[in-house]
Symmetry: C2
Subunit: 425 residues, 2 copies
């Protein structure tokens, strides 16, 4: 398999030397962050395997699909409606990167004052480190933030990029614009694949993606229990993997995991003591292998029980109504569902404030950590309002602004310790 992988990576134009360093670095990190955890659910074995083979089997599957004439569509955002991609027999794959490793590569071109997620992702392309982007036929970007919006223009010099316009407000006209963008996206995908997105195909794809959403909702519901049956790190990994794994396999694995967690709940078998501070993380997304904040929190005695983020609730909260209908009616329903994502790209975005307060109650949290990737203007500004709202509700808040480097790990740990001590009083 290893030889097989190296040949494939080479065929894909991967910089093998640099890629070796990246993968070799991941092993001890994963051991330290994940495998050191005690009393993990058995169901996490699959996800351990997936990370252990992160650029292997799944890439082989995508390559096989491509060799059979299928298309692979790379995305960076939960706003890109994957139902449409599946309905055209193409495969969507989430590409956000979460490692400092590729940041300096990106900084050769991108402004340094760009958030780590954008730099890391761009560096993966520029440094020829990511077999997923190399396998993909089209990258689909969006306009959710200035940094990504403009990065995509530069990325377009290396690989075909199509950008969907996510509006800034939620007026009737903004919604019309977005619906139009969803329809246009269907045309783009039909043209790319040569396949027609029919009403039946779209219904089927919607059902499938909804089923994964329900599976993840079930997983998150299980985290509401005290003691919590799964660590925040493990739950985060499940969400991260579901961005690029096969949707059917993902449903199966998440469901098996949830069945196991049901038994754990019945047996009051938790991963943390009853009195461990329960934390809601809210803010910027965390792409693999960005487990930094969870790791510090969970090795400081807390347990993360929910992520209000794009690698959390924003990914799966709402379902697309499965009413069937014409392709046009279904596309409209899809557009409406995606407009319900409470991203900080919208102004105003008070619904997110409501979400944070609601989730804090539902997950019985003792405190909220607002997580902000440095240079992310939208979440950084929204943190001002989050602070006001949580103060009014009497919910403790810690605001963290960080990047992918480990330079501030000590300082973060000190601040988190102080926060947890304050909560425990």
């Amino acid at each position: 398999m290893t030889t097989d992988n190296r040949q494939m990576w080479s065929d894909l134009g991967i910089d093998l030397n640099r890629h070796d360093i990246l993968l070799n670095a991941l092993v001890p990190i994963y051991k330290d962050v994940y495998l050191s955890q005690k009393n993990r659910p058995q169901g996490m074995c699959f996800f351990d395997f997936v990370v252990g083979d992160i650029h292997g089997i799944r890439v082989h599957e995508l390559r096989k699909h491509a060799m059979n004439g299928g298309k692979v569509v790379a995305t960076y955002c939960v706003f890109v409606p994957e139902e449409i991609v599946w309905a055209a027999d193409a495969i969507p794959v989430g590409l956000c990167a979460g490692t400092q490793f590729s940041v300096p590569i990106a900084e050769e071109i991108l402004p340094r004052n760009t958030c780590a997620l954008i730099k890391s992702s761009f560096g993966f392309k520029l440094g020829r480190l990511c077999p997923y982007v190399q396998t993909s036929h089209l990258i689909v970007g969006e306009t959710t933030c200035d940094g990504k919006k403009k990065m995509f223009e530069i990325l377009g010099q290396y690989q075909p990029v199509y950008v969907m316009e996510v509006p800034n407000k939620k007026t009737r006209l903004s919604r019309e614009l977005w619906t139009g963008e969803v329809v246009a996206f269907k045309d783009v995908i039909e043209k790319l694949t040569g396949n027609k997105v029919t009403s039946a195909k779209l219904s089927q794809a919607t059902g499938l993606v909804n089923e994964r959403r329900r599976a993840l909702q079930r997983l998150y519901d299980l985290r509401k229990v005290r003691p919590v049956p799964i660590s925040g790190k493990d739950a985060l990994l499940v969400t991260q993997v579901s961005f690029y794994d096969d949707v059917t396999r993902c449903i199966k694995q998440v469901t098996a995991l949830c069945d196991e967690l049901d038994s754990r709940v019945a047996a009051r078998n938790g991963v943390a003591p009853d009195n461990a501070p329960r934390i809601l993380i809210s803010g910027s997304p965390m792409a693999i292998p960005n487990w930094k904040l969870h790791h510090i929190l969970e090795t400081s005695g807390a347990v993360v029980v929910c992520e209000e983020s794009c690698t959390g609730t924003r990914f799966f909260t709402d379902l697309v109504p499965e009413n069937g209908g014409t392709v046009e009616e279904q596309l409209r329903a899809i557009a409406e569902r995606y407009m319900q994502i409470h991203c900080a790209c919208f102004t105003p975005n008070d619904e997110r404030l409501d979400d944070i307060v609601r989730l804090a109650r539902e997950y019985q949290v003792d405190g909220v950590v607002h997580y902000n990737l440095q240079f992310c203007h939208t979440y950084a500004n929204e943190a001002v309002k989050v602070e006001e709202v949580l103060a009014k509700e009497g919910i403790p808040l810690l605001r963290i602004e960080t990047d992918y480097s480990d330079e501030d790990a000590g300082q973060l740990r000190t601040r988190i310790d102080a926060f947890l001590e304050m909560i425990r009083k």
Copy 2:
């Protein structure tokens, strides 16, 4: 007048002590930057007077207007269609601030990783330093960048704010959205003022704003001449003042200045030697009193002959067609004109690259300085493409990223000296 001003500022809720410090600091800066220049056009006396009385007469005029039942509408961007404001007998006033003085005040609330223009402007409100914002009945924001888009939400806690959605792309649907926003803005202004925006009023206002655009176009055309009859600093000041001065007076003063410059051109009376490097500045806007880059360039032997920026060509380049027609037809024409502003908020925005090359030729420049306010993602990313295009055209480029502080003045001067030396060879 001074006593009169203090009473007015006090009535407006200005923090008099802090405001005194601000105004007293401005005097020596203005003397150093402006009054030290040699061979200035007589027509600049008016603009010297305006700056000398920066929070005086004009504020009195706006107050008088307000006391007579008129409305004042504050804006931060060239996308807000002022024709509509004038047509409702309200007065628009540009509010962007260009001083480090108010930045620390803003940083008490806003993220520090925000561009100086946003922080300075927000700090003016928070610190009660700006009689213009205090006089205004409505602040009109827009969605041209993440920083402003989200700042307006916070600003809305202090004063009524209305936000116009500027789209991200320029598709048919995006243009429809923008036209809808222009129509909605008319409704907002009608409601605010209680005045109807009639076809005749809108025609008249459009004619007036166009006339000011033509006057500024004439001023800029005169800068194409070698030797250039006016310094870049002086021309920049004229544009800056036209953002908040009375439009009729502005036209009169700019026209008088241009008449004088015509004579200077005839007499080959320039402000810089024939061989002084001619510089085009392209990028972020410069609000009063942000004269930093011009000052360094022009005291290093260069002369700035054009600004491709919102305090430059983007402010006045295109006219609204004066074809009359219904209010709806006129609003559509207005919307179309504003969509021609080649702001980095759009993706793609290749028209701006064309503009820079075209302006570089028209103004016979020896080099381009790309000016980027730190943390402005859109212009910082676009600088990558500007660099590529200018390299292809063989036009020298210097990329500057800075803020409002003077901390990097020495370093900037060194880099600019090196750039000018390279150009002169």
